[in-house]
């Protein structure tokens, strides 16, 4: 025994644990439009300690089926758990994390801009045209601009018109769909 005791204890072996990077994920969820489905999904994400950064919901071409696009900032590993648990919900039909999948995404914003001087009106109109936006409401001292595009595009527009004074603003949050490409394999996960 004493002989054995003199053997140095080997350093404990360490199992590799999972750590993912924290970044913004975009998750698309096809749901049955049942009572409380939004609350169920929001509860699940909040239960992981994460905040929903963006959310859009709308009915699809099929009656009673809606698509939700959720933006959430979180650890890759935890988001993977969130996706698996979203799939487990009875009312979800398809759940996919689009972050690393080729996809198209768009956002829409309505921005009410202070434009009381003729110079401001000219300038805002010009910027709006460059961004392929539309002026959807005009008053004596304001323009309301509709602009669609990626998050970056909208952010850039907002930065440019900020000096004129933004009075109100509403953004939809992203909608996104996976790109169809010749070689894309169909998702074989169970939901």
């Amino acid at each position: 025994m004493s002989e054995l005791n003199s053997i140095e204890a080997p350093t404990p072996m360490i199992r590799e644990t999972k750590k993912g990077s924290v970044r913004k994920h975009i998750i698309t969820v096809l749901v049955r439009n049942e009572l409380g489905v939004l609350a169920r999904i929001a509860t699940l994400i909040a239960g992981k300690g994460y905040n929903i950064e963006g959310l859009s919901v709308g009915e699809t071409h099929e009656k009673g089926i809606s698509r939700m696009t959720i933006e959430v900032i979180g650890d890759d590993v935890v988001i993977d758990q969130v996706v698996k648990q979203l799939r487990k919900l009875i009312d979800t039909l398809k759940v996919r994390d689009l972050t690393d999948t080729p996809h198209v995404e768009r956002e829409l914003a309505l921005i009410k801009i202070h434009t009381s001087t003729p110079r401001a009106r000219d300038e805002v109109l010009r910027i709006t045209e460059i961004f392929r936006g539309r002026i959807v409401d005009v008053s004596q001292s304001t323009y309301t601009v509709e602009i669609t595009g990626t998050e970056d595009k909208i952010n850039a527009f907002v930065e440019l018109v900020k000096p004129f004074g933004i009075m109100e603003m509403a953004r939809t949050g992203k909608v996104a769909l996976k790109r169809e490409m010749a070689n894309t394999e169909e998702d074989t996960s169970w939901k």
Binding site: P10, P12, T17
Partner: protein, 584 residues
């Protein structure tokens, strides 16, 4: 046929084969109680508190594998069920909870006895429903039963407003196919991926030091036969979790008993040193793994589970297999046999088995015996002997629960009924009553602590009313013992608010309720009163065992620590390197 919503509820419950409803009536659910009375086809157990109803339904479900049913009124009735719902969710117990609700036109009005129970229970149910149209009632109820019992089982709540129970309708009861088709987003996988099963078979045959780590999923899918066959065929030692007890017979030579925080030395050593860990219906809970970085650090891991969200949740696994445990094990055995059922390194495997035998001899599960004071472990051993190892054991939560897990030897699935995930004190007595009603041919022993017992002791009178002959053994140390143990070990014996020495005379309490009570204060009285209790079969019997007050549950791996930091049965901290590691 036109009938009330309340009649539809009873009709569907009968269609689902419900034998017992555990519940408590009140304003919003009165129509259903009236329908129950008029029909007379389902037995109802009137509990003295809705929490008791919930745990009874759980105990019934855990003991029988059937769906339990608990029912209450709206508001406080519903909130009193919440602990049982959360408990059922954590331990994957199939229970349908039916709650009354205020009439639809009053919902959201802060009406009398109104509470948003669907909102409250959303994160603790597998699914829940608020019934808004009587036409939906039969489909929703059948969906509830289907969801509760299939896939990874779990609690489902159906909230029914009073006016829905009063309305008339001739809506038909849907068939099972209609129920399945109505749930396009719910398709549990049971079969297991054949490629993954092939991979697993290869790993098992080529492993040198494999261990099977078996959890509650193996109990739910009743896979004992398959487990024993696989273990014997491939000579694999088997450790079971608290929830997995009984899935593998504990007197089997390959049994390592429980692992983790209060696991045996030999189970934890085997897991620490194994090169292949086969997790079967288990979820790598923190009470099992301790410090996750040092859990089975050299092992490849195969994980069989019906819940895809359980896989790679706490630990990355090498071969995930999503499917029903019994089905997958059967296929795995066939695959291994097809490959000739060869152990590729028979010498290493033999050495591994011998090493485990050495560990078993070095630190067996034991305790310091005494002929002066009653040792709690001794009480459990005597119950085991007196019941010939054949009783169903239900427990509360705390030291007594761990002693019951360690010192009773379980041989069949559904034999050990306790609150593993949520750790609900007060679970034992109502769960034991539910278990006895579900399995009347079995002796049912509730092994409870004095602290746990007092949390739901009102159900003693329920057991008397329905002549349920459960035996209730109180491991009475006059302390909240598990908290006291942690205070002793980690807080320098600052015993903050754990003294329960002011307590009722439990024997008189039993008598006051019309039950029988016995007390043991000396070791030699222990067996005597157990034998006396076993003779009584028409009412509950309470046994008050005054045990050594400061006995600890050992061995123990402190929370969040590695198996290396295990406190052994003699109280010695840390494990000697020469016994722990496979050196050379």
């Amino acid at each position: 046929m036109t009938r009330k919503g309340a009649d539809i509820v009873i009709e569907v419950l009968k269609e689902e084969g419900v034998e017992y409803i555990f519940g408590h009536p009140g304003g919003a659910i009165m129509e259903v109680y009236d329908a129950l009375y008029r029909d007379g086809g389902i037995k109802h157990i009137l509990t003295r508190h809705e929490q008791g109803a919930g745990h009874m339904a759980e105990g019934y479900a855990k003991a029988t594998g059937k769906v339990g049913v608990a029912m209450s009124t709206s508001g406080p009735g519903a909130t009193n069920l919440v602990t049982a719902i959360a408990d059922a969710y954590m331990d994957s117990v199939p229970v349908v909870f039916i709650t009354g609700q205020v009439p639809t036109h009053l919902i959201g009005n802060d009406a009398f006895q109104e509470v948003d129970i669907v909102g409250i229970t959303r994160p603790i149910t597998k699914h829940n429903f608020l019934v808004k149209r009587i036409e939906d009632l039969p489909l929703i109820l059948r969906q509830a039963f289907y969801i509760a019992r299939t896939g990874r089982p779990g609690p489902v709540l159906v909230d029914i407003p009073k006016d829905i129970t009063q309305k008339l309708s001739d809506v038909k009861i849907p068939s099972l196919d209609e129920v399945k088709n109505s749930l396009p987003g719910y398709k549990p996988h049971t079969e297991g991926n054949p490629q993954q099963i092939k991979k697993a078979a290869k790993l098992i045959m080529s492993a040198k030091r494999p261990v099977l780590y078996v959890g509650g999923g193996a109990v739910h899918s009743e896979a004992q036969k398959e487990l024993v066959e696989l273990a014997e065929l491939m000579k694999i030692p088997v450790t079971t979790t608290n929830m997995g007890k009984g899935a593998f017979p504990e007197l089997h030579p390959l049994a390592l008993h429980m692992l983790g925080m209060h696991g045996t030395y030999y189970a934890n050593m085997a897991v620490y040193n194994c090169d292949l860990l086969i997790a079967v219906g288990a979820r790598f809970d923190d009470r099992v793994t301790g410090k996750i970085e040092e859990f089975a650090p050299q092992a490849s891991i195969i994980h069989i589970d019906i819940d895809p969200a359980s896989i790679s949740k706490n630990i990355v696994v090498d071969v995930p297999i999503v499917g029903d445990v019994k089905v997958v094990l059967r296929k795995l055995i066939e695959e291994i046999k097809k490959e000739g059922a060869k152990i590729l390194f028979p010498e290493e495997r033999q050495k591994w088995i011998e090493q485990i035998e050495k560990w078993k001899k070095l630190h067996p599960l034991t305790y310091r015996k005494s002929d002066k004071v009653i040792k709690p472990q001794y009480v459990i051993e005597e119950i085991w002997k007196a019941t010939k190892g054949d009783a169903i054991i239900a427990t509360g939560v705390g030291q007594h629960q761990m002693w019951a897990a360690m010192f009773y030897k379980y041989s069949f699935p559904r034999q050990f009924i306790n609150s593993g995930g949520l750790g609900t004190m007060g679970f034992g007595l109502p769960a034991g009553i539910g278990a006895k009603l579900g399995r009347p041919e079995k002796e049912v022993f509730v092994i409870d602590g004095d602290g746990s017992f007092m949390m739901t002791m009102q159900e003693l009178i329920t057991a008397v009313q329905y002549k349920v002959p459960v035996k209730i053994a109180i491991i009475n140390n006059g302390y909240l013992g598990m908290v006291r143990q942690w205070q002793e070990l980690f807080y320098e014996k600052r015993y903050s608010e754990v003294d329960l020495s002011v307590q009722p005379d439990f024997v008189k309490l039993a008598e006051a309720c019309g039950a029988v009570g016995f007390r043991a204060e000396k070791p030699k009285e222990v067996r005597e009163i157990i034998e006396e209790a076993l003779k009584i079969q028409d009412k509950p019997v309470l046994l008050d065992f005054h045990v050594d007050r400061e006995e600890n549950v050992l061995p123990m791996v402190p929370a969040g620590k590695s198996y290396r930091d295990m406190i052994l049965e003699d109280g010695k901290k840390g494990v000697d390197a020469d016994t722990m590691y496979l050196v050379g």
